[in-house]
Symmetry: D2
Subunit: 303 residues, 4 copies
């Protein structure tokens, strides 16, 4: 059985909230903090030690402290890390579990190192369900310190669902690539259903996703989720095909360009998402206008 630890959790949103519940259930002791007091209160009722301010959270931990930061990526992460660097002591440990760019993790690791604090960048996959009942974790940072925090992941992850990935940055880099693959896979699945939808045949998409999910080459969680989605709305008539994105697909493509790596599928998956945000395009107008100029082809007038 994994060793039981005490740690702080900063950020009790969709992911941090579920991770905390998961940790508590496995017997770890969690000091929970969020700007949203309601979330802190709820988790206190479920066994967490409440901390309304970060200072309080730090005080309620013993050295060497372990603090898991699970706040929305970007500025807020920076500000929380900065606060922690001031409050923590040499030998303490920060686990940054957000969807951060690996280059930010590299610089945060540097900042922490200068104060003797150990920084781990932890990529998290598996969605809210994974956070709650067993997810997938990829963790980069100081190899010597890794065994100290490994027990957390033995409990949080599904079996074989965590990996110490090497030096700082390698955890978030791997998570970024995971999401790049995810973009490509999702677009591939979606294109398949688009072909079905335009075909002469009249398929039951839920049943199709179910059969795809059982015994086929493409079976996996995304196919299971496809089945679930069609179970709720057989033709997805209630939603629009607007495909938002939260950054990691873009980062993957940008990184690939820097590395001169070939990622046509990931790149196109991203571009199709951008395309879906617009109901009309300027590039389309240019092509339509050109066809009209050289061939007299009719254009569709704007309303």
């Amino acid at each position: 059985m994994a060793q039981k630890l005490k740690l702080g959790m900063i950020g009790l949103g969709k992911m941090g909230y579920n991770l905390t519940l998961n940790l508590l259930e496995h017997g770890h002791s969690v000091v929970a903090n969020d700007v949203n007091e309601q979330a802190v209160k709820e988790l206190a009722e479920k066994g967490a030690v409440p901390a309304l301010r970060i200072e309080e959270l730090v005080q309620k931990l013993e050295t060497p402290r372990i603090v898991w930061v699970m706040v929305p990526a970007g500025n807020i992460t920076d500000s929380v890390i900065k606060q922690l660097v001031d409050l923590l002591s040499p030998g303490d440990i920060i686990i940054e579990g957000g969807n951060s760019h690996y280059k930010d993790s590299l610089s945060r690791a540097e900042t922490c190192k200068a104060k003797g604090i150990h920084f781990f960048d932890c990529g998290t996959s598996g969605g809210m369900e994974g956070a709650r009942h067993g997810g997938c974790f990829m963790i980069g940072g100081d190899k010597e310190v890794w065994p100290t925090i490994e027990p957390l992941f033995q409990d949080l992850a599904v079996e074989q669902g965590y990996l110490y990935t090497g030096e700082s940055g390698s955890g978030h880099f791997l998570k970024m690539v995971h999401n790049g693959i995810e973009y490509g896979m999702m677009q591939a699945i979606a294109e398949g259903f688009e072909v079905l939808d335009k075909s002469r045949f009249d398929y039951d998409y839920e049943a199709v996703a179910r059969v795809f999910g059982h015994g086929s080459v493409i079976r996996g969680w995304l196919i299971e989720l496809t089945e679930r989605a069609f179970a709720k709305d057989p033709k997805l008539e209630s939603i629009k095909g607007v495909m938002q994105s939260s950054g990691e697909g873009k980062w993957t493509v940008e990184e690939a360009l820097d590395l001169q790596a070939n990622v046509p599928v990931i790149a196109l998956s991203l571009l199709m998402r951008y395309r879906s945000l617009e109901s009309d395009t300027f590039h389309g107008k240019v092509v339509a206008a050109l066809r009209n100029e050289f061939g007299g082809h009719a254009v569709v007038k704007a309303d």
Copy 2:
């Protein structure tokens, strides 16, 4: 000076009408036929010999007859060729100038050959302006007979603007590839303007197209047409970005797949055209639904 010939022209639409005017101006004698009597009448007033029926057109030519078929591609071309094969004599010549698939040209050439009729497949580029004032022609067919019809192209084409491309089918194949390239070029230009349109800068697109058209690496007719289009409508606000297509881009991609040739740019140009025909997509719905399933990401509700 090119030798002056007598020929029949079947099909007096946008292209055939202008070709006929062009031929007449250059001193050729043209027997003009179309199902649209008005077009026949107009061209008769401009010096053509009118023929309200194909039989009449054939009768008004002397052997070896030359008949240029310039009707909308597809079934109509087949039906006209079939009629001509019945009416013409061995040694007569058919020039098929439409946007036909090269495989259709191959089979039409076979049919004609069986009756001793010489068939030329002629790809025509340059738009209506080219047909009227000097275009670009790529002609495949019997090498020995080519000199007989070459004088027509010496007059119809701009200088160096025609090519005997070799055996039957090679003219339409080359025209198909020309159009594939055209798809890619148009999309490239359009993407550039899309980037400008979304940029922080406030460009005058007509002026941009003009400067692109003078001295730059990308200068050429499509850039000139881009300038023209923006001169009429500076932001193309009057039209929608709906990009129709008339088949040759698709044929190019299909052919490339058969040849295992790499055409990512032409393929994507075509797919973006298809995308532009839809205001929403099923693949977008699938991706949006999946993001909601695993990450709880919000979806945009259908109206």
Copy 3:
């Protein structure tokens, strides 16, 4: 428990051989035929009824006969179906389980129908392992007759791993789309590992695939197979990146073009496969030559 049937199996290659073993183990009676006598002999030793000729196979079945055709797609399938149509009686059933184009299945269904024979097109996924131990089956054909053959699939498929997909052609169409999705997914995974391979980090790819396979969003069989492949050859140094293809990806793209469906990811997956078959490209030469022409940029000389 599923009803036990007697059927003929024509074609004892990688797939048919394993399907036969699977059927035998589940208590069905199989008359096995192949041009390869050795395979027939082997399966006879394992409980199948041997049939060295198709006539013999037909004779050894009772009406209404069920014959599963599992030969390499294309001409051989046509020839076997033609033989069967001559030999079988009205009311008999053919299950065609190869990787056939759905349009071929449509025409084969017509041919069979004219003779009163019921034709089912059956798409099979899951690879050799699936055939042997439980695969995924998508079956199109006559709805009234479907219950007669369903017991076979209850035993051959993993749980929930078969689907009656509707009218003739719909089984192979769905399998085609499955494979199109598969192309996109595989390319997405492969691109991810390419980015890892070019990155500054030093990942253990087998461990990466394993963690991706446990709890992540992209977990699934293809990720498991990736782990297996890296387990055998940690950097895949023993093989070349030559990506063959066997047709269904191409069919999916061709079908999508006909349907004007958007499949950039599937299309690019296919084009990258074609690209991998060449060590140098003509399009590359043209671009290199153009760069040299306008900018004096150096070219790489051929050996």
Copy 4:
């Protein structure tokens, strides 16, 4: 006739050398500087005022000085600008004509502005020929000062071949987009010839490029250059299809990702260039290994 000016030219490489000759021929007075003394000497013989050091160049100009910087983009540009900012006086003018990223131009303009120096970012197209005999220029910077330097462009550019594009950065941004379009156009042309090369027909590529260049829709300078390249080497057998790139295509794609603009064709043109740099790929190995795992498909062994 355009007013004649005196200016300094720093950087006498392929582009700066030809621009200097062009300016001298048009009656402008040029103080020429380069680290390569030979180039300075040559141009002195052709009428330029030599300056072996930048200080000397600055001294030989009268206020308000005009200095054209035409050095390889990147660090060298930065260092030259930095030197100039120290040496020049308020009211002096810098024209930066290299292939610089527009964001660098924005920050250089800021640096210059702080010292009262006017900075113009000038995108230059048309290749070496354009620099020598009339090119295409897109210039961003201070609108009030623009008329001072416009006479240079009246002489350097082909007719209508220059444009004041607006505020700082807009010149290099437009040039970046121009090059993005160029990538797409070149790839489109190249793909067309790849299809021809794999076709059943036996085309004369020089003749094809020539006919494409006369009267067709795709006619333009790139097609003319294609003709020239095939004139020198009919099948391009002497070169490899290695497609280098010098940054602006990548910048266009990166910028497009930031702007969520759709650039599939430009992106793929870039990715195909990267692909061409490798004789084998890791993504190819992964796909090949996966096909082997699930289907037993043969792999090609590494040498």
